[in-house]
Structures are given as structure tokens and as C-alpha cells.
């Protein structure tokens, strides 16, 4: 009798074990990615999570207390590339001030995604998004925008710690000119990413 119970038990549980770890991130688990980092000598955890199509970043201290929650960054998970690797979330000191920056991307539609870089404001004791500035167009945004979503994350890419590149359409108002894909480069200078140049992407015919 005992053996029968054990056999039934094993038969019920074993098939389920095959599916362990195969769930789609974000479907059952709202946490898409986590990273640990140190801030003022304290161990912190940053969490990228999605609740009800609202993607946010949260920072928790060592006791699990939430010390920062971002605004909604988007509605879907998005990868970006740093060190030639597609990642969901990264913590790194980009500007050399010994305080790490938090980097994450999100898709917010209809075709656009943003790469956000949060830096710690020591006076306000909170994280703030670094600005992406296009002086000639008098345009400042809280993220690097790409309107050409690439599943491999290459539309939002760190070329080095202080240079980022977005992939996006270059539009023309001329009826005879088709929109073309372009690279947009920004460089980290004086606490903000500033537009450097844009150029069309080479096309394979």
C-alpha cells in the first residue's frame, strides 16, 4: 500500500518538475530582473517589474524596504545592449562618481521604446532619470528613444560607458522621399547625454 502511494505521488509530481523554470518572465512573476549594488555602503537591490502592463523600477534597501519607485517606464519588457550583451537591467557607474547608475529599457508603443538611465541625486536622496538632450531641436527627454524595435536589443545600445546609440527612423516631409533607418548617437557630458550626430544605416539590397 505504501509503495502504491509513493508511486502515485511520484507520478503526479515528476511530470510537473519538467516544466520548472520554463515560465515566461513577467507572466506569473512580476519581477523581470534584479541586480544588487552598493549605495552609501548599504546593500541595495534594484528590481525591474511589470504589474498590469506597467513596467517600473524599484530600489529596495537591505531590509527589503522600498526606497524608490520610478514612474511607469512602459508597458512591455525591452532589452538593450551593453558590453555587446543584451540585458534587461544593468547597474554600473557610468560617470565615474562612485555612485552606480541604474539602466533599463521598456517598450511603450505604438512603435517606440526607451532606454532609461537613473542616477542617484545625493542631495534629494532619490534616483532621477538622466536627460537626453538634442540642443538643436530644443528637445530634452528622460530616455533614449528608438522607434525601430529590435528583439535582440540592438536598437538601444551602449557603445561605451559614455556613448549610446539608438536606432530610429529619419523622416522626410517630401512626398517623394521614403523614411529611412538611422543611427542617433548621444554622448554623456556634464551629467546628461547630448546628441552628437545621426546618419542613415547602411542597407543590404
Amino acid at each position: 500500500m505504501k509503495k502504491v502511494i509513493y508511486t502515485i505521488f511520484a507520478m503526479v509530481l515528476l511530470p510537473f518538475s519538467l516544466f520548472a523554470g520554463l515560465a515566461v518572465p513577467g507572466e506569473a512573476n512580476p519581477v523581470l530582473a534584479t541586480e544588487k549594488f552598493e549605495l552609501d555602503g548599504q546593500q541595495m537591490t534594484v528590481e525591474k517589474r511589470i504589474d498590469d502592463m506597467n513596467l517600473t523600477l524599484r530600489v529596495l534597501d537591505a531590509d527589503g524596504k522600498q526606497i524608490f519607485t520610478s514612474e511607469t517606464l512602459g508597458s512591455e519588457e525591452k532589452l538593450f545592449v551593453i558590453d555587446r550583451e543584451a540585458v534587461s537591467l544593468k547597474v554600473r557607474d557610468l560617470n565615474g562618481d562612485k555612485v552606480p547608475e541604474l539602466m533599463a529599457a521598456a517598450f511603450y508603443g505604438p512603435n517606440a521604446s526607451g532606454l532609461y538611465v537613473f542616477t542617484y541625486d545625493t542631495s534629494a536622496k532619490t534616483f532621477k532619470p538622466m536627460q537626453f538632450v538634442h540642443a538643436a531641436a530644443d528637445l530634452t527627454r528622460d530616455c533614449l528613444v528608438s522607434d525601430m524595435r529590435q528583439e535582440n536589443g540592438e536598437d538601444l545600445m551602449f557603445l561605451s560607458d559614455d556613448v549610446v546609440r539608438a536606432l530610429g527612423m529619419i523622416y522626410s516631409t517630401e512626398p517623394d522621399a521614403e523614411p529611412v533607418a538611422g543611427f542617433y548617437f548621444y554622448k554623456l557630458t556634464d551629467g546628461a547625454f547630448k546628441f552628437v550626430e545621426s546618419k542613415p544605416v547602411p542597407v543590404d539590397e
Partner: protein, 287 residues
């Protein structure tokens, strides 16, 4: 010893059961938490084991358990990052320049009738018919306006997005219909699955530093109007574009807010929209 093995097996199976539906990151987090807990509890465990040894002079075997599962493959998360594109045939752009004849037929031969109401109705129904027959392809700005103006106006009544903005966006983003996905009635090139399913079409993707033609999945709609309504819904539903809706009575400002919110990468996007609206007098279609 046998019981201990059995217990371990049962525990592992229970753990597997509870991990069903978890993703790899979640499992790694649980394992990490367990490992941290075990690490913190180690002194107490050692004390307990020592006491147990002293009392029974036995070998303990239970302290070093449960670490086999810790080496889960983090590569699993990377697997999803790989581009699932197949570099395929470059024969594409088969939609440009077609079917414009249909739009012309809509505007024919109405000059003889004296009944203006009938003429208006006939024109409206002909425009609808022309729109239904339109399969994508570049249009002259005047044809584009005739075809999409009434539809954009109707969609605008529901969503609040100015009709002139809808038309300028469609014109700018598709090159006046040139890259609209006709078979799917997808005016804005939105990827994914739409109300009528999806369609696989050649599209340009960025691979190894170049734009390469690949097969992409695009939203399919039952009508062009549905495509416009879906696009408007995406705009009005996203918190990021909330400021645009606050200035919906001012199309030029709406365009600037779209740009600030990050609708497009192009820093001149708003100016280009405004230029199209002005030069083609798309404002006339606003409610």
C-alpha cells in the same frame, strides 16, 4: 538512511512541483535566498549537529544538502534575447505604386447630377468603396487626403486624437502610403497581432550593423478605420502620451507633445508633422 533518501526525494519533488510556473530568475532568487538562510543559520546548525553527535555519537549527513540545484543555467534568460530573424529573400516592396487607379475611379463622373444630396452621398460611398479597394501603395497627397480624411475624422470623434495628426502621422510614417501594409490594412506598420490576426511580410531589420530584409509579423486589421482606431487607442491608453491628450484642441502642440513624450526618435518629428498638416491643410478634417 533509506528514510533520509526517501525524504530528500520527496522534498525535491515537492520543490519541483512548486517551481512549476516559475521562471529561471525566480528559481535562482529562491535558491539564493535559501542559500543565504542556510549560511546565516550555519552556526546554529553546527551547534545542533555537535550536540547531536555528542549525544548519539553518530555521523551526521544532513548538513550538506540542497546545493545541487544552485547551478541553474543563467543562459536561459539569454536565450530569449537572440534575434529570431531569418535572413531571407530581398524581393519586397511589392506594394508601391499599385492600385492608385481604384482611388481615381471614386472621383469620376459626378458632375452631371443636380441633386446635391445625392452627389454627396454618392461621393461618400464612392470614397468608402475606394478605401475598401485600396491595397496600400504611394498616393499623391490630395488622393491621400480624400481617402483618409473622412475616416480620420470619424476616428477622431471617438478617440480625441486630432484627425490632422492622424493623417500627418500616416503620411509621414508610410511615405504617403508607400510602405503601408495593404493586405493587413496596417497603416502605421505596427508589429504583433491585431484584431484580424497577423500577417508575415518582408521588412527591414537591423542585423550586424546593416538593414537587412527579413520576415516580420505585423498586426492585421479588418479595415483601414480599425487600423487608425487601434493606433489612436495605443496613444490614448499609454500614460506616456497623457500630455498630448491634454492639448488635443491644438494639433501643432499635440505634435510637439508627441515628440517630447518619445513617440519617435527623429528630433524633427513634430516639425515634420506640422509642416505636412500646414502644406496640405489637414486641419480642415479636425472636428
Amino acid at each position: 538512511m533509506k528514510k533520509c533518501k526517501m525524504l530528500s526525494l520527496v522534498l525535491m519533488m515537492c520543490a519541483s512541483f512548486f517551481m512549476t510556473g516559475c521562471d529561471a530568475q525566480q528559481i535562482l532568487n529562491v535558491i539564493q535566498n535559501v542559500a543565504n538562510g542556510v549560511q546565516q543559520a550555519m552556526p546554529a546548525i553546527r551547534d545542533a549537529v555537535g550536540a547531536f553527535q555528542n549525544a548519539f555519537n553518530n555521523n551526521n549527513t544532513a548538513a550538506n544538502n540542497n546545493q545541487n540545484a544552485a547551478n541553474n543555467n543563467a543562459a536561459e534568460t539569454n536565450a530569449a534575447n537572440q534575434a529570431n530573424v531569418n535572413v531571407t529573400n530581398p524581393n519586397q516592396e511589392d506594394i508601391a505604386g499599385q492600385n492608385t487607379a481604384n482611388t481615381n475611379t471614386a472621383n469620376n463622373n459626378n458632375t452631371q447630377t443636380n441633386n446635391t444630396t445625392n452627389t454627396t452621398n454618392t461621393n461618400a460611398s464612392q470614397t468608402e468603396a475606394a478605401l475598401a479597394n485600396y491595397k496600400g501603395g504611394k498616393l499623391a497627397p490630395s488622393e491621400f487626403a480624400k481617402l483618409f480624411g473622412p475616416v480620420a475624422r470619424e476616428a477622431s470623434k471617438k478617440s480625441g486624437v486630432p484627425a490632422s495628426i492622424i493623417m500627418a502621422q500616416a503620411a509621414l510614417e508610410t511615405g504617403w502610403g508607400g510602405s503601408a501594409i495593404g493586405d493587413a490594412k496596417n497603416l502605421f506598420g505596427i508589429k504583433g497581432t491585431g484584431p484580424a490576426g497577423s500577417i508575415t511580410m518582408p521588412t527591414k531589420e537591423f542585423i550586424n550593423g546593416r538593414m537587412v530584409t527579413v520576415q516580420g509579423k505585423f498586426r492585421k486589421y479588418n479595415s483601414w478605420q480599425e487600423s487608425i482606431e487601434d493606433h489612436s487607442k495605443l496613444l490614448t491608453g499609454a500614460s506616456r502620451y497623457a500630455k498630448c491628450m491634454a492639448v488635443r484642441n491644438d494639433p501643432d502642440q499635440f505634435a510637439r507633445e508627441l515628440q517630447k513624450a518619445g513617440y519617435a526618435t527623429d528630433p524633427q518629428y513634430a516639425n515634420k508633422l506640422i509642416s505636412i498638416m500646414k502644406s496640405n491643410n489637414f486641419y480642415q478634417y479636425n472636428n
